[in-house]
């Protein structure tokens, strides 16, 4: 996955994950587990939670979320979420500037160049490195130590501290990582079960099974319209995108394109230039030649490819746990009927070693505080508050920070948003069992879980709008598999989580382009598979060798 893909994916992931956790609170039929008494802590005397008296101004960098609707008289600068921060923390949030989300990264860079940054803003790993190099940031080590509540500290290091460590420079905490669950990036094999049944095919346990199914879906007219117009796999021009990408095939051959993995000697090597890649490319080329992949896939994005899914032409796809919500549900659920029966499976392997799914650090960005800020601790207090209100089962506490009076999605307005590092994967351990036995008590302490449980029950009663939740929650659904991956140790982490190294910043885009160009050409049979060997040589001589060295230097220092 190149950077661009990863960013896109991260955005989608956090959106999906947040939606999930936020819906839980808006849902009035929660699983009868509301314990209002323990909900609201009001110890204002305790230091971390003390209010600013009189209220302080705290500037942020804002995005004008295009899909956000406001209550009458409210706006991006004046709304009930900001009012709540004044009321509870004495922090008056003032957007120093606001731009469309698409222009946000550019505007952030401009503000870094000008040296004028707001008290708080969200940046990428590369921006963070620049800000640290340019000495524009407040050192948060002490304020985090002093002001973060025990709950916050626990929340931020559920993953063993990897994500927090990625925000440390020479031992100093320079940013708050926008945490997320790395496991949410796990890939699954999505298969049309109705077609499998119709053609009497075995379940896809191995890569060989997968290839057989793909072949049958292409040639045996699974949709029964008498035309050979179906494809084994969905595909799109970004071949390593989470949605409809081919990463699942590569992982099945134990190849991890775009990731830095440990080789047998303990050094980090780049996944895209390892010999395993060749096997996967060969398979994909064969599939393309046999007409099992849309011959026009490399000009299409996922929206275009979804049109094929909707037209009953796609039998299998690789995708993350939220594929059912987006973009699949638009193609599957029509006029309140589920028109296609999809089933999810763990990635299949070509040999007896199970396939691991490749995932990154899972951090979706970094919240940084300006060196000039008079109250860096305000950022930590906002963080405390968000963690408190986003992880409570008490709706009275959560609501002001999540929804407007008319239930608009105001949670997007919070200046700091962090997601539990074990979101979904923890839920996956029990949720499918709860759904199978119809026992809500199994998930009563789990916000995401209980909301998915409710949705699944609704789905079983005929609410097709909950189909995407059902795909996550059902037995052998994505969340169960996500947890199964964890239990079976089948996550392959990208070991490199720093900002781009010097050579990487200069040369990686060129190398990425070469990679994308060649891989696409090999898959579409415009270049022989053996060209891969020449590519590896070029990759090393065009800067890859130097990058590998720098990455290993970084790894040694970590």
């Amino acid at each position: 996955m190149n950077r661009q893909n990863r960013n896109k994916v991260a955005v989608v992931m956090i959106a999906a994950a947040l939606l999930l956790s936020a819906c839980g609170k808006g849902n009035d039929s929660a699983a009868g587990n509301v314990s209002a008494a323990s909900g609201k802590p009001a110890q204002t005397s305790q230091d971390p939670k003390a209010k600013f008296e009189p209220p302080i101004d705290f500037t942020i960098a804002g995005t004008t979320e295009p899909n956000l609707a406001f209550d009458k008289g409210e706006s991006f600068t004046n709304n009930t979420v900001y009012d709540a921060y004044v009321k509870d923390l004495g922090i008056s949030i003032k957007p120093e500037w606001m731009v469309d989300p698409k222009q946000y990264p550019e505007k952030v860079r401009l503000s870094i160049v000008s040296g004028e940054i707001p008290d708080l803003m969200k940046v990428t790993a590369a921006d963070l490195q620049q800000l640290v190099d340019n000495n524009l940031l407040a050192d948060l080590t002490d304020v985090y130590d002093k002001y973060a509540t025990p709950e916050t500290k626990k929340f931020m290091s559920t993953d063993g501290g990897n994500q927090l460590a990625s925000a440390k420079f020479d031992g100093k905490l320079m940013a708050i990582p926008s945490t997320n669950a790395p496991y949410n990036a796990a890939e699954f094999l999505w298969v049309r079960k109705d077609w499998m049944k119709k053609l009497n095919l075995p379940e896809p346990k191995t890569m060989q099974d997968v290839l057989k199914i793909s072949e049958a879906f292409t040639n045996q007219d699974p949709d029964g319209n008498g035309k050979k117009d179906s494809f084994g796999f969905a595909a799109q021009k970004e071949i390593f995108n989470m949605v409809y990408g081919f990463t699942g095939i590569f992982n099945g051959y134990h190849a991890y394109p775009g990731a830095w993995i440990k080789d047998s000697s303990g050094k980090l090597v780049y996944g895209s230039v390892q010999p395993e890649i060749k096997n996967a490319l060969k398979t994909l080329q064969d599939m393309y030649k046999a007409g099992q992949i849309d011959p026009e896939f490399f000009v299409k994005d996922h929206t275009k490819e979804t049109e094929l899914v909707a037209g009953n032409k796609i039998g299998m796809a690789f995708g993350p746990f939220f594929l059912g919500s987006w973009p699949l549900s638009a193609a599957v659920v029509k006029n309140n009927t589920v028109t296609q029966d999809w089933e999810t499976y763990p990635l299949a392997s070509f040999d007896d070693k199970p396939a691991s799914t490749q995932v990154g650090l899972g951090v979706d960005g970094y919240y940084v505080v300006s060196k000039k800020s008079k109250h860096p601790e305000a950022a930590i207090k906002i963080l405390n508050k968000w963690i408190e209100v986003d992880n409570t089962t008490d709706k009275q506490v959560g609501k002001p920070y999540h929804f407007s009076k008319t239930n608009q999605e105001y949670w997007k307005l919070n200046p700091i948003i962090v997601v539990p590092q074990d979101l979904n994967v923890k839920t996956g351990a029990v949720l499918s069992k709860a759904v199978e036995t119809k026992d809500p008590t199994l998930v009563k302490d789990d916000l995401a879980g209980s909301s998915l449980y409710d949705d699944s029950m609704k789905f079983l009663k005929g609410d097709t709008g909950s189909w995407s939740s059902w795909m996550k929650a059902k037995p052998h659904g994505t969340l169960e598999i996500m947890n199964q991956y964890l239990k079976e140790n089948r996550y392959m982490f990208d070991e490199f989580s720093g900002a781009p190294t010097a050579t990487m910043a200069m040369k990686k885009p060129i190398l990425d382009q070469k990679e994308q160009e060649l891989f696409t050409k090999i898959i579409t049979n415009k270049a022989p598979v053996d060209d891969f060997d020449a590519f590896v040589k070029d990759w090393n001589s065009l800067g890859g060798e130097q990058i590998t060295k720098e990455v290993n230097d970084w790894y040694a220092k970590k």
Binding site: I112, V113, N134, K237, K304, P500, A505, K521
Partner: protein
Amino acid sequence: MIRKMWATEWPLHLMLLPGIAIVLIYSYGPMVGIMIAFEHFVPARGIFGSEWVGFDNFKFVMSLPDTYRVLYNTIFIAFMKMIAGQMVPIVFALLLNEVRNTVMKRSVQTLVYLPHFLSWIILGGIMIDILSPSSGLVNQTLQTLGFKPIFFLGDAHWFPYVLVVSDIWKEFGFSTIVYLAALTSINPALYEAAAIDGANRWRQTRHVTLPGIVPIITLLATLSLGQILNAGFDQVFNLYNPQVYETGDILDTLVYRLGLEQAQYGMATAVGLFKSAVSLLFISVSYWLAYRFANYRIF
């Protein structure tokens, strides 16, 4: 003499001042930033504090394996766009000028002008649909005529031509309006005189209309030569894919990937400066040519 002129004209000069101030502030002021092209630019140290590296940024860009291919693509695509972008609107304006029915004339004029307002993001999606080899309108037409379907957006051979044709389709209406405006400024007496001398429509066009708009053609052609390295970022960025990098990757998309996505400002500025220098050269040469052969001065 000069003093006398000054005495009567000073209010006019005063009125020029705000315009000059704006040009100085927004056009000449930022030129200081050209220095970034010769620096290892670190934002916090600023333009004057960053390390001076001379021509290193230029050397780096030139050392990239694909630079020449990309440069060739850029010039090839931009040159074709320039030529076609001149010819099509002129011919179309001449034809439209002959249309007698005002309603017809106005509505055609508006219709061809419309695509100018669509963004390439939208047109990109539409083009993928209509150019699709399996289900697209164009290829279905080709097939009914007995040709084999062509994958216009996925074939490195066809891709540059698709860029040119679609760009012309989108923009020619806009240029047509300029030429139509020029046509209306031709003195009708000349046509009457030509008609009396027995000139038919074709001869009138050749000897009255065309000479009448030669200045504007020269002007637009000269100005468009400055675009020799602008092959249209929006369009290419929305339509290209790994299969057509070979013929479709242009200077701007390269800089976008290298310079902006990775915050390599020095390199991005270096390429920008290079583009400006080449544009200046081409405009100067064409200006001189226009003066030398058409005896026409723009300034």
